[in-house]
Symmetry: C2
Subunit: 335 residues, 2 copies
């Protein structure tokens, strides 16, 4: 077996992990033992949620330990196997970490990738966690009805761009909130939003949301929390649904930051807010992937990728996400 480069957590960040919190180390790839197999990673995922995985604040998963390979979803192919259910050449997506090669006993695998007519990288995007998060978050938690106005924050992002397009497929009017003129263009021209608001270039964001939602909004898919959400909630229509999917605008949860108290909006608009984690819907992934893949093939679900080259780009990649420098789903391609 060749050696494998691994990106390990070097020190515990407070808030967004920066380049200096990681180190790249060479390691031997062990031979697979019975019941194990080796995956050669082709793409590494870079996701906003990875911030939470390295912080020590309470979360839904245990924090990555110092010295541990950075937890990450990857997609790759099986190059050696002593496992009955995985054979050489199988394409797999799983939590195999920021490294060239990974040894797995199968528990780290999220799914085998079966849409071989579509690019492999999609298994980390619209045909991966981002896709099912958008699918269940919008359709099950947001419960959009045809004619509804759906507002999406981080509208050009990996999850947000899928949410906006699925909302269009569901017959909704879509309003995207994103940062910068280039992302506004993407929202309008590629992802088909009816309106796109540049929160960075808008003086009064709340007024802009109000103007874009003259009858109020029925669904808010919230990827940011913070000032964007504060500007959106006053425009909820009676009975609105808020899907809380991420909190990208909050740099640090320890201590918990302050913001305007929001209960009054939920009370007077009889609105609902609900947090979601895609894995709660794991029993329905097959349904989601079948529909998502079909929408991709038909061209009604488009995507953008932001591909960094080489594992050397990993340590700064999460910080870059929070700097808003990517246009589309951020991936790292391994040669």
């Amino acid at each position: 077996m060749p050696t494998s480069r691994q990106v390990r957590l070097k020190s515990r960040p407070v808030g967004v992990p920066q380049k200096e919190h990681f180190e790249i180390v060479e390691a031997e790839v062990p031979e697979p033992r019975p019941g194990e197999f080796v995956v050669r990673n082709r793409f590494l995922s870079v996701d906003p949620a990875m911030r939470g995985w390295v912080n020590s604040a309470p979360s839904y998963v245990r924090p990555v330990e110092i010295g541990e390979v950075m937890r990450a979803y990857t997609v790759g192919e099986v190059v050696a196997s002593r496992h009955p259910r995985y054979k050489e050449g199988d394409k797999v997506m799983g939590q195999l970490g920021w490294q060239d090669h990974a040894v797995s006993d199968g528990r780290q695998i999220w799914r085998k990738v079966t849409e071989t007519d579509l690019p492999l990288s999609l298994a980390l995007g619209v045909l991966g966690l981002n896709g099912v998060t958008a699918y269940f978050g919008l359709l099950d938690v947001g419960q959009p009805r045809a004619g509804d106005t759906v507002v999406v924050s981080t509208a050009a992002g990996a999850v947000g761009s899928a949410v906006g397009q699925i909302a269009k497929i569901a017959g909704c009017r879509t309003v995207g909130i994103t940062g910068g003129a280039e992302k506004v263009r993407l929202c309008r021209e590629v992802f088909g939003y009816d309106e796109a608001i540049d929160y960075k270039g808008t003086k009064d964001l709340s007024a802009a949301v109000g103007a874009a939602c003259p009858k109020g909004l029925n669904v808010y898919f919230d990827n940011t929390s913070g000032p964007i959400t504060d500007a959106v909630l006053p425009h909820m229509a009676i009975g609105a649904r808020v899907a809380v999917c991420g909190t990208a605008s909050i740099a640090n949860w320890d201590p918990i930051p302050m913001g305007p108290i929001m209960e009054r909006w939920f009370l007077i608009r009889r609105a609902r807010m609900q947090g979601l984690l895609a894995s709660d819907f794991a029993h329905r992934y097959d349904e989601a992937f079948a529909r998502l893949a079909q929408w991709v093939r038909e061209g009604s679900l488009r995507y953008r990728e932001d591909i960094l080259e080489g594992i050397e780009s990993a340590p700064d990649a999460i910080a870059g996400l929070y700097r808003g420098e990517n246009l589309g789903k951020r991936l790292i391609r391994l040669s």
Copy 2:
């Protein structure tokens, strides 16, 4: 017709209305015209929501105007009628205002009181808006399951005390949060809470809630918002439901006060928060009153009333609620 004393709004308060924001005026009671009837009020209601009715911040109803009789629910009897559906002697509950006599065309009437075996004042409490708010807020929004832990703020109040008891009827474990030793005693001895926490006498409220909910809470019925809610939310179990019924701890919504950002709790616990207004369930009031009255008759739904005597006590009565001086549903009895 005799003259009627009326409590009118004299000036617009910011936050909780005080005694000086009202004045008591004598007025002629007009003869009922065709399609009208006159109600002699027996009890006037005093509710936390009345604060919102006199403030100018956006709400679900238009603000009471300066010089207008204070909007309030009352219960009384028809003493003269030229209306086909209301006859002398009928007991009615409605939004007839803080006054001795009211002329109505029927639109202000919420319902005829038919449980003549039970005290008339209950039509403003467990058999009134408080009762249906508790009923639908807990059962429909909170969706308790047998064995759940249900936390209630303002646990000894008119709504909260009913919520706690309905939760017990539903097979739940109940934890009440209330202010002061006397209300803690009421919660334990009269309303049957399994645990009662005195937020005024507790140094670390969050730790006290955590100790009372070792497996986390499944339902939080929130009547307060603010610091009590901030202490409760971290103890939500996965999939918890928060019913937002009132915001009694927020003295003033203009400007909107700040508090810890809460989305993270909803995200990591995949919890749901939903505001409610009892009137959204108006089509199911008959169901609720039938069950509530039966529970009262059986003794499984107990209540406490805090009865002030005479219309002169009205101007200071809302401020007194927010000072926390009442034990039970606050009413004003007219002689």
